[in-house]
């Protein structure tokens, strides 16, 4: 598999994801101005110094965009990692132990999923103090219900295979069965799901921030930047559209790459899987 076999749109997608990660990691060195530094007039139009223009308080949009990548990616990624760990551990436990454990966990999960995610988040965010930790935890816990559902289905698909029964007949322990027999056979769908959940986390975080319930000012995050600048839209000032487009482009890129990866690996039934 070489780089030439990857279609162009996918290559662009990968490049955008990498660019975002680089911005997130090295924001202070890349950004031309400070995150909260006021450098000119309110909503000043783009020029040679300010590539994307200035925002509602006269801060450089490009710099804030780069800093925004940092917090947006950090929160979305942390939430995804936590939700994944939680969802996978619980779902595999449910699938392997069956019986009452499975029933209890599954019913609880059904209950959580019967409230729309955004609505549930709104209810929870009313009650908890607003800070990064609670935000990440609320996002992670709500999202883990989706991971649980997929993880359980995938694990059950594999758990009914004869080779798992053969391992039980040999006398293998539960952890060996989960780690050595089941997990390797569920990696590709789970990997794809991780990508999709990450894309969703970016959208979800941005939505919360846009509603004023996510990351709090003065920190720059993409959803919050849309909220800050939305009043300019009606005057034809596109400052709100730029962070919106950044969210859209990153999310499209992740989805494209994941979609492509799923198509490539879905035909693989085993063997030297390159997923």
């Amino acid at each position: 598999m070489t780089i030439r076999h990857i279609p162009l749109p996918i290559l662009i997608g990968i490049a955008i994801i990498l660019l975002t990660l680089i911005c997130a990691l090295f924001a202070p060195w890349i950004a031309p101005y400070g995150e909260t530094e006021v450098v000119g007039d309110v909503w000043q139009a783009p020029n040679d110094h300010f590539l994307f223009g200035l925002d509602n308080l006269g801060r450089d949009l490009l710099s804030r965009l780069i800093y925004g990548a940092r917090i947006t990616v950090f929160v979305a990624l942390s939430a995804t990692v936590i939700s994944f760990t939680l969802g996978i551990v619980l779902s595999f436990t449910a699938a392997v132990s069956k019986g009452i454990v499975d029933t209890t966990l599954s019913r609880l999960n059904d209950l959580m999923m019967s409230i729309p995610t955004l609505i549930f988040a709104l209810v929870l965010l009313t009650a908890v103090p607003q800070n990064l930790t609670t935000l990440i935890l609320v996002m992670a816990i709500l999202d883990s219900t989706r991971v649980f559902r997929l993880g359980r289905a995938v694990a059950l698909d594999v758990a009914v295979m004869d080779f798992v029964e053969a391992a039980q007949l040999r006398g293998e322990g539960t952890w060996w069965i989960i780690l050595r027999e089941i997990l390797p056979n569920t990696l590709s769908p789970l990997l794809a799901e991780f990508g999709l959940r990450f894309a969703f986390a970016i959208l979800f975080l941005s939505t919360l921030s846009f509603l004023g319930l996510g990351i709090q000012p003065p920190y720059a995050d993409w959803g919050g930047m849309v909220k800050d600048n939305k009043d300019g839209i009606i005057f034809g000032i596109s400052a709100a559209l730029i962070p919106g487009a950044a969210i859209a482009i990153l999310s499209v890129s992740v989805n494209l790459v994941v979609d492509w990866m799923m198509k490539r690996t879905s035909s693989l039934k085993g063997g030297r899987g390159d997923a």
């Binding site: 749109p9 059904d110 209950l111 959580m112 019967s114 409230i115 729309p116 995610t117 955004l118 609505i119 549930f120 709104l122 209810v123 929870l124 965010l125 009313t126 009650a127 908890v128 103090p129 894309a199 959208l203 941005s206 939505t207 846009f210 509603l211 004023g212 319930l213 959803g223 849309v226 939305k230 839209i233 009606i234 005057f235 034809g236 596109s238 709100a240 559209l241 919106g244 487009a245 969210i247 859209a248 999310s251 499209v252 992740v254 989805n255 494209l256 979609d259």
Partner: protein
Amino acid sequence: MTELPHKPSGSRLPFHQRFPLAIRIGERLLLSLLLLLAVSVLIFGGIEVLPGDFAETYLGQSATPTAVANIRSELGLDRPLTVRYVEWLRALVQGDFGTSWASGSSVSEQISKRLGNSLFLAFCAAVISIPLAVGLGLVSVRYRNRIPDRLINIVSLTAVSLPEFFVGYLLIMVFVVQIGGAAFPATVYEGMSLPDRLNAIALPVATLVLVVLAHMMRMTRAAIISVMSSAYMETAELKGLGKFRAIVRHAAPNALSPIINVVALNLAYLVVGVVVVEVVFVYPGMGQFMVDAVTVRDLPVVQACGLIFAAIYILLNMLADILAIIANPRLRHPR
């Protein structure tokens, strides 16, 4: 050996074997009711078990011990949780959602106007998006793996990844600022004529349609493809039936139930999409109301809105399941 004895039909069989359909639907109704009750517990009780004292959070910076104690007794937070829950539920069954902490007025009254607005918005979006999604899904299957299908695939994949507010502001930028003519903000009021009302909500509806269409279309396509690749479709082809006849007679009855499911799922999604779209277009609906209440931590309003949104969501999912049960020939015609 394996031939089944012909079972005596009708009256002697127990009820649940004669009417498995009724039983299944009854079960599903009961389940929804239980779910709704559990959700009410979650929405009411969940907040209480969360870490941090609500009164402190409510007051924020100004949380002195006396202020906290005052606010607790003022809001009735000093009484036991179960007592408050039972009271809340009892009032709720009578249609009373309590009093807003922020405005001091009745929550039910405020919600009743806004709920209608939100449902109207969602309804208009549904009326446009459902036929469009099913139609595009059919086109996509008809030209499977050819240019129209690939085009639809890429466009819909992109649309799925766009945040609602971005689509909304983009539409405002184009149709209000650049071209002009579309209404913003989407203000509606009582006694507004239907054409005016429709004009006001044109952009919010367009946003919702764009967002929900892609999801619905992709799922419809998958559902149709799974039916089209089944063995009985090959049988139809080998019977020499025309493509149209095969689709109408053999694919459609079986694709109906998965498509109904897709539609219901996305309608539920629509209900939530309303929240963001209402904020973008400053539309006086439930979503905007709830977000405002969350910002000022007006708990009774948040709980009421949360419960109503969840109830609509549960109701739609239940409808989908019941329709799927009815569409299943195995249950309609028991052995």
